[in-house]
């Protein structure tokens, strides 16, 4: 358990806080302030994973979000499992337990490699493309291998004990990234009075300054960071969010920030007192965004550049200076720019050997170059590492003189013994977030990288827009801070604060190098990896271009470059450069791929927040809900409503099945009396002098002569003539109506009427108010309904005074009520409406008086059976947006002669709506009385035709009728109205073919006498 690679001193780790952790079953030690990656390097762990396709050993390459290899599965217990965690971003904590995700069966042994090697073509470039283009069976063959070998982790099988939160935030200026640019912009905006949110994805704010060699105001950069952070945290207009990744940049400066609040403390949130949220998703609407995301160093692409011990130059410096870790003993550095020289200086200062610096430039010069020279470090000009030697760890670097223009090795190859190769091919601005907005990045030849395109409300500053020297970054960022503050409309004097002093460093010009030439052509050289996570090689990209893929988007899909969870943060530009070379174009001509949210993976917990389990969707309860619960009702979701589905009784200790309960409830209604909680029906109060005219325009039938006290059933169509909703509307007064809608359609109908009123007929004087929740509705229905209601109302129920489709006002159980004689069962029915807060009292009173009539509560299932027996439709079940009132046989409800062309009328005379073979609404009676047809079953006329059969319709509703003693169904059948008495066939999946007769959809009481008694 010795940390063999830990430096005796230095770094920002807390040596007084030793920590133990487990990786792949082995115990290791680290310190507070370590990341899992720095701790693994400190312990000399070279291999952290096996590669995706070739199963090659892989080590840590980077120190941040761009890490492609060190992706682990985290969690000591099943419930705590987190897949797809980058070790470079995971803070170490006591007892941290992690595994390699690609380690099947073991990172140290190479089983998958055997598969790869034995069948060299197991996953050639274009594998995905070819697999998906081939017949489906090929995917079936490969899937299990791919899933097993390539899984980037697994989700936990047990419930997550943690909670997560969403927070809506607003600010003047959101600053993303807390490096030198972000810090300067933040402090400038804050001092000028802007409301600032300042986020950074790392454990500590400071970015590159935390491992910088430079001085700011004559103090070490990290000390300046502390001073600025102290100031910012003292300001009330600043919200500091460390450990917070800006993951998505959406429309109109809406940015989602993923804050990890406890993931540096343990597997799940600490439980002392109230359990705090493990993560927060901040939904920030920023007036202005300052993007200070910096740049990622670009590795060079050379042969065997994936062998453990190949790192990014900057990552090596970070590990040495920030974590006190030496990733090796003997370094060869391969660079294209001055800045990377700092790695050699850091390495040598830490007491280890720099074997050589291979510099691709013919004549490197600049302050850092001179410093290296003065320290006696060997610099080999116009050269690069063309190949790494070693299998489980680098053992040597092959360095040769190269000519980038002719893409060839021009000198002899020198093999330098070393254990570490660090490379730097320049820097790629982190343009991901700006790209989320859809803006196209712009290529700049002078910095050899893409910079963000223009986004309204966005100011990019520092490395992300290609400004690299520290003194320029600070000037640029101070300016950005002022501009963003002013653009946000903050009233400020906008005094440019005094800029901190930074010595201007003289750097030599960088050169362009992406793939390093090899003595052999790419196709035959050892593998030169471009995308380490997806095992995409330079040869693979070359092959793609030779197979005719020219657009980078196609090349990407062909090779799977950038498809990993790292989204190709390291490899994309190199891949494009290689494609450009092969196609003899420039990089901007080849293009860049579009980045999409999220920047780094976000846990489902953070995305869901509190919107899970009971809070996933709002639940609506009627005023009688508690009674239903106490009666043991089973519930059904209807939209957001919880409605009683049926009320199973327990008879002799045995609970009724649904079939038994529904049969009992149905017969109770047909034989004596039942009661339904119908409160969920949508109710819209319509008032105004033009209310009647308006109804005439939105309903298909006539409303001109409906008297006060009368009720009418209406059909509502869209202007294409298709039925959208139905319900009853009662005339409460000359200018006052109450409309009911389907339970699910209430909000839509309300918006529909507002649409027509506000956009087409604003001259109509009419007002709509939703009163769904104000009124509870109780339907008493059955032959004994009048007798029961008479006991508790002062309303005259005489059958000639209070007729079917009348409504009356009075009291029921002593409270004000509106009673509607409407029937959805075909029986004598009264719908009692009372204020919702009186409902329970009325309901209980009804049961007190109803006991002698065996008053039976019934639920939605019985309601469905009873209405279907009467051939009454349910919009959305028996109709699907392609059914006209005529298709339903409801010509009686269409007022063709109304003066105004009501919504839907004109479309009913289009050729398509007049076709004789439209699917029409009919009843189906199965020939076998025991059969209940399947809803959705397809109907054919000839059961003996060959597949594919001509389908002429389908079953829309199907039940067993306890009243009739047989199954029955409603259906739509082509030309069905002319097919009464014909036999149709319903072939089922299992080969059974049911026979049924087309009949009228009204199965019970065809003359409709029972509801009129």
């Amino acid at each position: 358990m010795t940390q063999v690679n830990r430096l005796k001193q230095g770094g920002r780790i807390d040596r007084s806080r030793p920590l133990k952790f487990v990786f792949n079953g082995q115990q290791y030690a680290g310190y507070g302030g370590d990341t899992l990656a720095s701790a693994l390097l400190a312990n000399g762990v070279d291999i952290v994973n096996r590669s995706f396709k070739y199963s090659r050993p892989r080590g840590i390459v980077a120190a941040g979000a761009e890490e492609p290899n060190a992706v682990v599965q985290l969690g000591a217990t099943e419930a705590a499992q987190v897949p797809n965690v980058r070790a470079t971003q995971q803070a170490l904590y006591q007892g941290l337990t992690a595994r390699s995700t690609n380690g099947w069966p073991n990172v140290q042994r190479d089983l998958m490699g055997m598969v790869g090697k034995l069948s060299g073509t197991f996953m050639p470039p274009g594998f995905y493309y070819k697999t998906f283009m081939a017949p489906a069976s090929l995917w079936m063959t490969y899937e299990k291998y791919i899933r097993k070998s390539a899984g980037l982790g697994r989700s936990p099988a047990e419930p997550d004990p943690d909670s997560y939160e969403h927070i809506n935030q607003h600010c003047d200026v959101l600053i993303i990234g807390a490096g030198p640019a972000g810090l300067t912009a933040a402090v400038t905006a804050a001092r000028n009075g802007a409301r600032v949110i300042f986020c950074d994805e790392q454990e500590e704010m400071g970015g590159s300054l935390l491992d910088s060699r430079e001085l700011i105001d004559d103090m070490p950069a990290a000390q300046w960071v502390d001073r600025i952070l102290d100031e910012l945290s003292s300001l009330s207009n600043v919200t500091l969010l460390p450990r917070t990744t800006a993951n998505g940049y959406h429309d109109h400066n809406f940015v989602t920030l993923h804050e990890r609040r406890t993931e540096h403390l343990g597997d799940s949130a600490p439980t002392g007192g109230r359990r705090q949220a493990r993560a927060r998703l901040h939904r920030v609407r920023a007036s202005q965004v300052v993007l200070a995301a910096g740049a990622h160093e670009r590795p060079l692409v050379y042969a065997n550049n994936d062998v453990p011990g190949n790192l990014l130059a900057g990552a090596v410096s970070t590990y040495i200076r920030r974590y006190g870790v030496m990733p090796g003993q003997k370094l060869v550095l391969s660079v294209t720019n001055d800045h990377a020289y700092r790695t050699a200086l850091d390495w040598q200062e830490a007491g280890c050997e720099v074997v050589a610096i291979a510099d691709a430039r013919a004549n490197p010069k600049g302050e850092l170059v001179e410093k290296a020279q003065s320290l006696g470090i060997r610099i080999i000009a116009q050269s690069a590492v063309i190949e790494a030697k070693g299998s489980n760890r680098v053992s040597a670097a092959c360095v040769a003189k190269i000519d980038a223009d002719s893409f060839s090795v021009v000198g002899r190859v020198e093999e330098l013994a070393c254990d570490t190769i660090a490379s730097s091919g320049g820097y790629s601005p982190v343009i991901h977030l700006s790209s989320h907005t859809g803006t196209r990045p712009l290529w700049r030849d002078d910095i050899l990288g893409f910079v963000p395109g223009e986004v309204k409300g966005l100011t990019a500053t520092g490395g992300v827009r290609g400004v690299y020297p520290l003194h320029e970054v600070i000037r640029d960022a101070a300016d950005a801070g002022v501009r963003a503050t002013l653009a946000a409309g903050v009233k400020t004097h906008a005094e440019a604060t005094t800029l901190p002093q930074v010595a201007a460093r003289q750097d030599g010009e960088a050169c362009a190098l992406y793939q390093v030439p090899h003595r052999k052509p790419s196709m035959r050289a050892p593998k030169q990896f471009v995308d380490l996570q997806n095992d995409v090689t330079a040869a693979g990209i070359e092959l793609a271009t030779r197979e005719g893929f020219e657009s980078i988007e196609h090349i990407k899909r062909y090779t799977a470059m950038g498809f990993g969870t790292d989204q190709g943060k390291l490899g994309n530009i190199n891949g494009m450069a290689i494609a450009a070379r092969c196609l003899k174009r420039t990089i901007p001509e080849v293009g860049t791929t579009v980045f999409r949210p999220n920047y780094t993976p976000v846990t489902f917990g953070a995305i869901a927040g509190r919107h899970c389990r009971d809070l996933f969707d709002p639940e609506r309860y009627t005023a009688l809900h508690q009674w239903h619960v106490e009666q043991g009702a089973e519930f059904e979701d209807v939209g957001q409503w919880k409605r009683p589905w049926y009320f199973p009784r327990t008879v002799n200790g045995k609970k009724e099945t649904m079939h038994e309960a529904v049969s009992r409830e149905c017969l109770a209604v047909r034989e004596h009396i039942g009661i339904l909680d119908a409160s969920t029906l949508g109710k819209i109060d319509i008032q105004g002098p033009d209310a009647r005219e308006f109804l005439g325009r939105v309903y298909t039938n006539k409303w001109a002569k409906l008297d006060v006290g009368r009720v009418r059933y209406g059909l509502m169509c869209k202007d294409d003539g298709m039925l959208m909703d139905d319900g009853t509307t009662s005339c409460l007064g000359e200018n006052h109506f109450l409309m009911t809608t389907t339970t699910g359609g209430a909000a839509g109908v309300m918006e529909w009427m507002e649409l027509w009123h506000q956009t087409e007929w604003p001259e109509l004087d009419v007002y709509f108010t939703s009163v769904t929740d104000h009124w509870a509705t109780m339907t008493v229905t059955g032959p004994d309904a009048r007798k029961l209601l008479a006991e508790i109302t002062d309303i005259d129920l005489d059958k000639d005074q209070f007729k079917f489709m009348d409504w009356r006002e009075g009291t029921v159980a002593g409270v004000p009520a509106r009673v509607f004689r409407i029937s959805f069962t075909g029986e004598l029915s009264y719908e009692i409406n009372v204020q919702a807060n009186y409902a329970m009292h009325v309901w209980k009173t009804l049961f007190e008086h109803g006991e002698k009539y065996e008053l039976t509560p019934y639920g939605t299932e019985t309601m469905h059976v009873l209405r279907a027996e009467k051939g009454l439709i349910i919009v959305g079940q028996d109709t699907d947006g392609s059914v006209t009132p005529e298709d339903l046989g409801m010509q009686w409800a269409i007022g063709y002669d109304k003066p105004f062309t009501w919504i839907g009328k004109r479309a009913l005379s289009r050729p398509d709506t007049r076709r004789a073979d439209r699917k029409q609404f009919v009843g189906l009676k199965p020939k076998d009385a025991k059969v209940v047809l399947e809803e959705g079953a397809q109907i054919v006329l000839d059961p003996n035709q060959s597949i594919p059969m001509a389908m002429v319709g389908h079953v829309t509703s199907s039940y067993y009728s306890p009243t009739l003693g047989h199954g029955f169904a409603l259906a739509v059948v082509k030309g069905g109205h002319q097919r009464m008495g014909e036999t149709v066939y319903l072939p089922m999946v299992d080969g059974t073919v049911y026979e049924a007769e087309i009949v009228s959809p009204v199965f019970v009481d065809p003359k409709g006498e029972r509801q009129h008694v």
Partner: protein, 130 residues
């Protein structure tokens, strides 16, 4: 997620409060009975799908319940203006700057997911070299 200024509430509110209702300024023919089947079909089913300026009908569904119009750029998603029912847009496709027209706005050039050499890139690089 859009940030929408409701011209009736006179406030910016989150998109969650609004419902999009399709293309704006689609007028129902005054005399539907006099419409040919084709004209009625056009009214019912055919809508523009411009790359660039688009006028849309929205409703502040869980706010003031008022319908209003938005002029939106379908490429940048920028909301250029919102205006009340019965008002005319002040920004139309005809107002597009020459630059936008050259850049292919309003032309179904497609392929915008891929970055090609753009005039801006060239200008930028000339500047950088100078």
């Amino acid at each position: 997620m859009f940030h929408i200024y409701c011209p009736y509430c006179e406030e910016h509110r989150e998109e969650e409060e609004f419902h999009p209702k399709g293309q704006a300024h689609i007028q129902r023919p005054v005399d539907p009975e006099a419409c040919s089947d084709e004209a009625w079909g056009d009214y019912l089913f055919f809508r523009d799908n411009p790359r660039g300026i688009h006028h849309e009908l929205w409703v502040h569904a869980v706010g003031c319940r008022k319908f209003f119009n938005i002029t939106r750029h379908t490429v940048s998603y920028e909301i250029l203006e919102t205006y009340k029912m019965g008002e005319k847009p002040s920004i139309t496709a005809a107002d597009l700057s020459e630059k936008d027209k050259q850049a292919g706005v309003q032309a179904a050039s497609g392929g915008w997911q891929t970055v090609g050499a753009r005039p801006e890139s060239e200008a930028l690089n000339k500047e950088a070299r100078a």
